[in-house]
Amino acid sequence: MNRFLWPLIGFAVLAALLAAGLRLNPRELPSPLVGKTAPDFALPRLDTPERNFSPGEMRGKAWLLNVWATWCVSCRQEHPLLVEIARSKTVALVGLNYKEVRGDAAFDMDKISAETERKLAAERADSWLDRHGNPYTLSVLDLDGRAGMDYGVYGVPETYVIDKAGVIRFKHIGPVTPDVLSGKILPLVAELSK
């Protein structure tokens, strides 16, 4: 009996470890930015390009930063949920439009001037928001993705919960799901808004 017991226990432990490993999502990495001050940037707003927006303007209230682009397929998937958040008016939602033109493989960047890129990005973003609804309090254009890099963006869409003091409290990678929204994001926002 004892002869078979130990190999059996060994096998069970190994199987349990492998099963747990299979359940982990390798794309979900713990962000080192959680618990740190949200990186600063100053980027032109989509609605009023002559005005810049900085995260500092949101001091004093909890808010969400959502990284999106019109070429991002998963963004369309989470979009109805974002529209719902906007309708409920529970929290300010700022959109960071990430590499609108450069991120789209359809464009040859050698042939596009900076001015054309800016115009094209604004046109594309505006028409997309017109078509699908605009959930954002405001959106900014991060044409070269440099601000996104400071936030450690590696898979659009990404959503950050930022508190009153401007500290990142939570980061979600990939499309927001109803579970994540009602289970994590909204309770956290409610707590931070107190």
């Binding site: 080192p32 993705g145 890099m149 400071d150 590696y154």
Partner: protein, 176 residues
């Protein structure tokens, strides 16, 4: 080569003509031209002319993981983000940042996961020493097993076992 030949003899000239009309010579010429074109083209030459800086750049990007294609290094990945990060690292090298500062930049944004060689700390102890621990456990288990088997082997046969062995080894004797 025959040393008796004069340098400008008719034979030598013929050989020379033959050499220049040879396909081998044409190939060499083409290759040389291609090389010159490549060297003159900035797309082939890269943006960091300094060889030491290029070496540093190559060493750094080989140490970093691409976040999009997680099984590729930053050096080998064709992902858009890898492209951006390579450009950023080049800029940092040109700006005179040290290797440590560049690593801090990457780890500060993407975590220890971007490093192919994770740092030694509390949460990575098992990662670093787990294999050695498993090996030690295996060797220990094997040792105990062999010791136990050796002890069992030394035990003398009982009377019944001896008779059975005798029967198997010499069937004709016992049957008789």
């Amino acid at each position: 080569m025959r040393k008796t030949e004069k340098p400008f003899s008719a034979k030598a000239r013929r050989r020379e003509e033959k050499f220049f009309s040879r396909p081998v010579f044409l190939c060499v010429l083409c290759a040389l031209c291609a090389l010159c074109i490549c060297a003159a083209n900035p797309a082939f030459a890269g943006k960091t002319p300094d060889e030491a800086a290029e070496k540093r750049f190559n060493a750094i990007v080989a140490e970093l993981r691409c976040l999009v294609c997680q099984n590729e290094s930053l050096a080998g990945s064709g992902a858009e983000l890898a492209h951006d990060l390579r450009r950023e690292i080049r800029n940092m090298i040109e700006a005179g940042k040290s290797d440590g500062e560049i690593m801090d930049f990457m780890v500060g944004r993407y975590g220890d996961f971007v490093r192919y060689r994770p740092p030694l700390k509390g949460s990575t102890l098992l990662l670093w020493f787990g294999p050695a621990l498993l090996f030690a456990g295996g060797v220990g288990g094997l040792f105990v097993c062999l010791r136990r088997r050796a002890r069992v082997g030394d035990a003398p046969l009982s009377e019944a076992e001896r008779r059975e062995a005798e029967r198997l080894l010499h069937p004709e004797k016992t049957e008789a």
